[in-house]
Amino acid sequence: MSRRSLAESPPAVALRRIGAVALFLVRILGQCLPALRQPQLLVRQLYNAGARSLVIIMLSGLFVGMVLGLQGFDLLQRFGSEDALGVAAALSLLKELGPVVTSLLFAGRAGTALTSEIGLMRATDQLTAMQMMAVDPMRRVVAPRFLGGVIAMPLLAAIFSGLGLFGAHLVGVQLMGVDAGSFWSQTQGAVKLEDVSEGITKSLVFGVAVSLIAVYEGYHATPTAEGVGLATTRTVVASSVLTLLLDYVLTAMFL
């Protein structure tokens, strides 16, 4: 294989891309502290990425919890352990479903918005105009959006898990007749601080991954309608795959 074709081979291209994303992360981290000095920008991005994702996260959390309640009750009653429904739902939500499903939804809702917004700013010369006004777009545009996503993700995952547990309670206790006392006391007894911190760590890592991919793709989008569309698609695909891959790695680390 010639040197040129080796450089263009898929693994080499993938490696270059990972390297480029890592360097981009370093550039963002260098701008995070200055970006924090403009709290109004961060608050706005928290609102865009977090508050605007609330409805979809809350609804999804509720329904996922209700399904967990139904399926969990069906499975546990075969062994006569339906009282453990609360524990099963709480641990599934806190450790897995909360962070993972929130991350997937976050990529679809906030990630795509970030990519297309930054991509369109590139296509309409807004980023170049900022550079011409001696304002670094990494500081003014990218860093606040990245930070907003990273902060919003764990909060959204917590809300997802909370609503999910409420959904499981609704189905298990109100509908199927599981004892409310056992539901909550067993949950309280079995869920450890480590379980909660595992969920928080995962959602934080997913927040970094999804936000990084979203801003990277937007910033490097080809400045055309097709280019921005492709970048948005890449954000969803890459974020979803990376979320599931990282989930496996993190779960293996926590066990």
């Binding site: 807004q126 105009a129 900022m130 011409m132």
Partner: protein, 271 residues
């Protein structure tokens, strides 16, 4: 004033190419202080690329671009930003920040580079908007503006930091005659009243000839003619005459290089 201190932009023997295609091969050009310099040329001759070189957005492969005597290729990002604070640029599409109102767009560079009290900032922004005739549009969003209005707001934003050098990228494209006249008058006003050095990139010969002091015609990777607009109109060069008179064919061919027309039409299949 000596010629050196009179020079704002000095482009010397610049070579630049993209993806194996040469855009400039030995470009030389000078922009002098307090004058309006027109950069003209057919589409695809690298006019916008030249602006990107002058503003340090890209670096020349060979040769040097000096602005106020400083060579861009030797400067770091911080120094480039320091130089850009002395420039203003008007983009072809205005490039207004779509999430900010007209007022905030004009205030943007001031907020970014100074701690001016809000009352002073408000007065400054309103003065600049008044200069472009859009004080009444301060609260509108960019999506509510027409193309001509957006460009005037962008002009107000470009002059809000009182730049020494103003760069206009295709300022007349897509404007109705009234808006075009307004922009033309504003460019001249900025130059006459504030003494701002201006570079106007365009292929609107008639409009540019009315305001420019110096002009350069770019083609085939370099400057093919320079001088006052009148000198260009009276030039004996065929390529200059073709461009100035707007003839469809000439040294700059109408047709993109292609296979023989007859052969291609008669060939079966393929393109």
């Amino acid at each position: 004033m000596s010629a050196a201190s009179d020079t704002v932009v000095d482009v010397r023997d610049v070579h630049y190419g993209v993806a194996g295609r040469s855009i400039f091969s030995g470009l030389d050009l000078t922009v002098r202080r307090g004058r309006i310099t027109a950069i003209m040329g057919p589409s695809g001759t690298g006019k916008t690329t030249l602006l990107r070189l002058i503003t340090g957005q890209i670096q020349a492969g060979r040769g040097e671009v000096r602005v106020w005597g400083e060579n861009f290729s030797t400067l770091g990002l911080r120094e480039i930003y320091r130089l850009r604070r002395r420039m203003g640029m008007l983009f072809q599409n205005g490039a207004l920040l779509t999430d900010l109102s007209v007022f905030e767009n004009v205030a943007f560079p001031v907020r970014a580079h100074s701690d001016l009290p809000e009352s002073l900032l408000r007065r400054l922004v309103l003065m600049k908007l008044q200069a472009v005739g859009l004080r009444g549009a301060a609260s509108l969003m960019p999506t509510e503006l027409s193309g001509g209005m957006a460009r005037r707001v962008a002009l107000a934003r470009a002059i809000v930091m009182d730049p020494e050098l103003l760069i206009y990228d295709e300022p007349f494209v897509g404007l109705d005659p009234i808006s075009l006249g307004v922009i033309l008058r504003l460019i001249r006003q900025m130059n006459e009243t504030l003494g701002i050095t201006s570079i106007v990139v365009s292929h609107d010969v008639k409009e540019l000839s009315a305001i420019a002091h110096d002009s350069y015609l770019l083609s085939q990777g370099g400057v093919v003619a320079s001088g006052s607009p009148m000198e260009l109109v009276q030039s004996g060069s065929e390529i200059v005459r073709q461009f100035m008179s707007g003839a469809a064919d000439g040294p700059v061919p109408f047709h993109y290089p292609a296979a023989d027309y007859r052969e291609q039409l008669l060939a079966e299949g393929g393109r």
